[in-house]
């Protein structure tokens, strides 16, 4: 018990070096010139974050729905002949 008290007294002899010229005021001054804090979320910023990727959502939705609807690019065979035939036709004089 006495040893514990001695230890406590001894540990209390650790002196703090006082912070140089008012640390708190230096921090406040540094914050004044630091970039402004990020504002916390508001209802309009929440909405904006949801709406930002809207074009991407739209494109993905259109592609997905067109696949579902069986839409595909016109088959080249539906025109007059295959691609090879068309090629041949164009250049076989």
């Amino acid at each position: 018990m006495q040893a514990d008290n001695d230890l406590d007294q001894w540990l209390n002899k650790l002196a703090l070096e006082t912070p140089a010229t008012n640390l708190a005021e230096r921090i406040i001054a540094a914050a004044a010139v630091a970039p402004a804090p990020m504002p916390t979320a508001t209802w309009w910023s929440e909405w904006r974050s949801w709406l930002a990727p809207a074009p991407a959502y739209a494109l993905v939705s259109v592609l997905f729905l067109s696949v579902l609807a069986g839409y595909h690019l016109p088959d080249i065979d539906d025109t007059n002949g295959s691609a090879v035939e068309l090629w041949d036709e164009d250049f076989s004089l």
């Binding site: 040893a3 514990d4 001695d6 230890l7 406590d8 001894w10 540990l11 002899k13 650790l14 002196a15 703090l16 070096e17 912070p19 140089a20 640390l23 708190a24 230096r26 921090i27 406040i28 540094a30 914050a31 004044a32 630091a34 970039p35 402004a36 804090p37 990020m38 504002p39 916390t40």
Partner: protein, 191 residues
Amino acid sequence: MAAQWHEKTDEELLALIGQQHHLAFATLVRRHTQRFYAVAYRHLLTKTDAEDVVQDAFLKLWQNPKLYQAERGAKFTTWFYQIILNACVDVNKKKKPLALPEDFDVADARPTALDDLVEKEESQQVKEALAGLPEQQRMAMNLCFYEALSNEEAANIMGIHLKALQSLLMRAKTTLKDKMQKTRKEFRHAS
């Protein structure tokens, strides 16, 4: 007006800091800087490092107040102890082995110069003893002895179980008692 700011809780001030209230930030900083500087100093044992750690931590909080999440239920001080101690661990990692400050001034001509010197000598001995402890043990002593936090709160800050904290404290005290007795013997021999 100033009195109103001082009446606000830390959590209320943080909500205002989220709305870029500089005065709320200033109030929080003035309220807690000395306490967190003391914690950082007792861990790092150098003034400039401790000051840098506290300044960086507060500036990060200013720039991103969302870092503190009140809904998690932790008090601001508990959460900020973690931030400060983690930053201290990072600083120590970068500058291993721990450098002890050589801050003895030459004794001046004042009548109390000898007393000052004895005080500084004792302070230096404690500082060396603390610096010799493993980081976790030093952290436990810092929070439980110097900051007088409860063991539960200290364990929570350090992210360890209560039993582990008690074990750290026990080992730290044993080491420090040995060190204290050794330095006292040396002092008796010298005088």
